[in-house]
């Protein structure tokens, strides 16, 4: 177990290191000088303005030295300062984190409740009209572009019905529409996964044995089948969580929801290198951590895995 954990940790660190190197180079390879973007609405900067800003932002150093500085500081927990706001990157990210966590948790809840319920019912009533309808909806939910679904929900529930606000994050009502938008995509995927995984388990011998013992169907489902069907579901959930975090980039922009996604979109447009690096590093950390957690969860659900 300990060896398994150590192996996973090492590979996680390698991933993080790779990500920093990649992002650092990529943001600088993308054409577009942050100083030009800064002056996008103004007459272009004079050579003096440009030189002074480059010096201030540390852009006058050769790229390998910039990376070295970045890594040295990052290891001490300092991701530098944003070019635009000149505030510490960590602070900018942490300020948005609660909003993104709120949204991710809410979407995950939507996805779990809707996806699991729909998947279980569809599996139990396999072949019925309910099964067909649910799976059709699931495919639809999983394949709709989320920004389009978001706009549709805004038009129906905010503009026409007036039940929810269009933009912002001030109250729980602000979270509903974006969470439903994001949750429904992953709910679709989850429902299909739960259904097929349950059907697979239902066909196994132990289920026949349980039924033959005369156990009520509900007990067979909850005590035996669900637990075994959970492994692929947890995998999907882990991946979904990562996708929820990155899907938030689009959805947060549509709903003007001030989370990490919206911060990232602004940072990219402004070529705010430290902020982009910080956000990507942060998201990579979360992704890696979640995956690690999922792996550990396997071991807990099915102790055979860690021995393998």
């Amino acid at each position: 177990m300990r060896q398994y954990l150590a192996k996973r940790m090492v590979s996680a660190l390698a991933v993080i290191f790779g990500v920093t190197l990649l992002v650092f180079t990529m943001v600088r390879l993308v054409p577009g000088d942050p100083i030009d973007v800064m002056f996008a609405n103004q007459p272009p900067p004079t050579p003096e303005q440009r030189a002074a800003l480059r010096r201030q932002l540390g852009l006058d150093l050769p790229i390998h030295r910039q990376y070295f500085h970045f890594m040295r500081r990052a290891l001490q927990g300092d991701l530098g300062r944003s070019f635009r706001t000149r505030q510490p990157v960590i602070g900018e990210i942490l300020a948005r984190l609660p909003n993104t966590l709120k949204l991710t948790a809410a979407s995950l809840a939507v996805s779990l409740v809707v996806g699991m319920t729909a998947g279980i019912l569809a599996a139990v009533y396999k072949g019925s009209w309910f099964d067909t309808a649910t799976m059709a909806l699931a495919v639809l939910g999983a394949s709709l572009p989320s920004f389009w679904l978001g706009l549709l929900l805004i038009l129906s529930f905010a503009v026409h019905l007036g039940w929810f606000p269009v933009s912002g994050a001030a109250t729980w009502r602000h979270v509903v529409l974006p969470a439903v938008t994001m949750g429904s995509v992953s709910a679709g995927i989850l429902a299909r996964m739960v259904r097929s995984s349950l059907l697979e388990e239902f066909a196994r011998d132990y289920v026949r044995t349980a039924r033959a013992k005369g156990l009520p169907e509900a007990t067979v489902l909850t005590r035996h089948v669900l637990r075994n069907a959970l492994i692929p579901v947890v995998t999907i959930l882990g991946l979904q969580l990562g996708q929820l975090l990155s899907g938030a980039f689009v959805i947060e922009a549509v709903f003007a929801y001030p989370g990490i996604g919206l911060l990232a979109v602004g940072a990219l447009q402004a070529r705010d290198f430290p902020l982009i690096q910080g956000i990507v590093l942060f998201v990579a950390l979360v992704y890696v951590t979640v995956n690690l957690a999922v792996d550990l969860l396997y071991c807990w659900i099915d102790p055979r895995i860690s021995d393998a």
Partner: protein, 582 residues
Amino acid sequence: MVDSRSGSSSRWPDLRVQLNRRRVIASGLAVGALGISGLLAACRGREQGTPEPVPAETPTAVAPGETPAPASPEPASGRIVVGRSGDADSLDPHLTVSSLSWQVFTNIYDPLVSWNARLEVEGIVASAWEISDDARQYTFSLRDGIVFHEGTACDAEAVKFTFDRILDPQTGSPAIAWIASLDTVEVVDRLTVRMRLKEPFAPFLGNLCTGYFGIISPSAVRQYGTEFGKHPVGTGPWKFKEWRVGEEIVLERNPDYRNFRSYVDNKGAPRVAELVFRNIPDEQTQIAAFQTGEINVLAVPPQALADFEADPNAQLFRIEQSVGITFLEFRMDPPEGEYGAKFRPPFDDVRVRQAVAHGVNADDIIATVLEGLAVRNYGPLPTGVACYDPAIEQFGYHYDPQRARELLDRAGWTLPAGGGVRQKDGQPLQVTLWTWSATTQQKVAQVIQNQLNQLGFDVTLETLEPGSLLARLGTPDDTSNFTLMSWGWTEPHMLYMMTSTNAGIGLYRPQEYRTLVTRASQTVDHAERCRLYFEAMTIMVRDAAMVPLWSPVSVVAVRKDVSGFKIGPQGIYVYEDAVVGR
């Protein structure tokens, strides 16, 4: 941009003597007219312009020293919520050049002087000013009793503190370039401050009108240090209340405010309790938020204009006078030495450039692609900038495809039998047009491509992301022959600035033109300055050094529950007369 012409001031007769020791008071005189407003609308690298000046009703002049009654007839209530794409980066006016920040902090800080409705300079924190014989010394008398939002006095020390902070290299203020001629700031007495310039610079007073030069609270800067941008304190009509980063910035009314702007009727504190700037990046979401009333002020996205015209809840303000100009610029090389104009082939022949100018049907593009949201402009100066003169049209190029074909024939670019592309010495007339990736901009470029192809050009259109376009122009990566570009500035000094960059029209520096725009920037007399600019423009137009197309028009939608909203000088939104929900 200012330093580059130092030393040239002695070369020209001093035209500033006309203003010797003239006392210039608040609503009096257009000195050096119109400087740079921070509004800086119309954008290099952006599609959507910012609103432009609209002459308001006859302004009531405020004599120096006169104190308007700080009266608010009814208790203030309600909120004005302005929707826009993006959030401010900093509310420290010395540390940002973002127009999203400017839009907010101009309501927090008052400048020494500002524009009135006729685009003349009037006093805000200053009641009067005096310009010395050599036009290098500006002495400002400050109004008594103006206090910062946290209660300290706004006096000569505070003004000195503000400008010293900009000049201090430690601050790293980009705004320094716009007052680069400023040498020292000196406190004469509690309410008098004197500024000395290194050289005469006519746009100086106008530059001071912008929000970047609003007076900041020294005690707040000392208290918050580098965090001042998150805790801004000024003397303006609105006080900073809260900034939920990425979401919204909330300002509240300054109950002690005395308004010295001649175009604002309400001489006291604002009548609305809160002024909010909400970040909504997506256009569709902005429109939805306006429809639900979550926001009540929004710059209308051009393609949604018809929807807003049909919306019974919307009042529309059309802002005709623009501080932006859209044009075609040709690829150029830097002049050898100080002066010159080296166009790259095939546009090195003036007749080919003139053929482009005659071959683009700008009126048609305005009517169809831009849905009427632009004003045809035949010269480089935007319609809403001082010294703009529609008379430039008589020197300009009208749509005339026949004439364009003749010019190309005469330049040696002839149509081969049966061919659609002109040739010269066996070379086809192939050119690459660059523009940036914005829907309208791309459509415009496509129409231009089509119009020029009909004349026998073979135009390749390349669309670049704005940041990437700006980064590549004028570098070895620049593979364009000409570019669809926009520029914006609110001061006629723009004619100097736009020919002082490293690409396109920025490299157009024939001695005749350069001399005129340089002389104009040293000429304080407004009429004479405009005359010099006009002459310079006729040279640029004669050379077809660029092809001016139009100045954009923007539209602001305000929900009907807000009354008294106004568009001020240079298109600023004026909230101080507004009332919500009555």
